[in-house]
């Protein structure tokens, strides 16, 4: 049973590490603000769920798990909200998603 839990938590942690990394690469490589935001915010939430879930399985039932659940809940609340707030601020300030503006699919400078 504990071997199963161990394996599961390692799988979660690995996947979490991978998704965090993919988010980082996406935030660096994507062509404009909104696509970068997409890469960053989606993997933020997914990575947090996977990594913290993996740690939770390691921690077992203890005060630490409750704290981890609280951290996860707050992250799941705040991180998308921040992204939303930022995107709306950028949109209001006049930054357009570049595909919509009729430009080529080539990344603009």
């Amino acid at each position: 049973m504990s071997a199963l839990l161990d394996t599961l938590s390692w799988v979660l942690l690995t996947l979490g590490g991978l998704s965090v990394l993919v988010g980082g690469i996406g935030a660096l490589r994507m062509p404009d603000l909104y696509t970068r935001m997409h890469a960053a915010s989606v993997t933020d939430s997914l990575g947090a769920i996977l990594v913290l879930g993996g740690i939770m399985l390691q921690a077992g039932w203890s005060l630490a798990t409750i704290k981890l659940i609280a951290i996860l809940l707050f992250l799941l609340l705040t991180s998308p909200t921040s992204s939303n707030a930022l995107a709306s601020a950028a949109l209001l300030a006049g930054t357009r998603p570049f595909a919509e503006a009729g430009q080529d699919e080539e990344a603009p400078k």
Binding site: G17, A48, S79, S82, A89
Partner: protein, 93 residues
């Protein structure tokens, strides 16, 4: 295995920092700060377990709660700046 996650998080932090330094727009930098904040929460939680002192999760909790305020402060800054600019334009006309 904790080490692997820590390394992935650290590399991501470096990438996000690169985004913050490169810009180009101010929104990209705010995005990078936000992203680094989440990554710091993950990093601190993983390291707390790596050290075998899970009682230090309080730190990650503090970041999870307080990072939000920075982003809202930026939002309010943009809002008041837009208000001030439109008021100045109105005063000039």
């Amino acid at each position: 295995m904790y080490y692997a996650v820590t390394i992935a998080t650290l590399v991501t932090m470096a990438l996000a920092l690169l985004r913050a330094v490169l810009g180009p727009s101010v929104y990209d930098r705010v995005l990078a700060v936000n992203m680094l904040g989440t990554k710091t929460v993950l990093l601190l939680s993983v390291i707390a377990f790596l050290y075998g002192r899970p009682d230090f999760l309080d730190l990650a909790l503090a970041y999870a709660l307080i990072n939000f305020i920075g982003v809202l402060a930026v939002l309010e800054f943009f809002r008041s700046r837009a208000l001030r600019r439109s008021a100045e334009r109105g005063a000039r006309q």
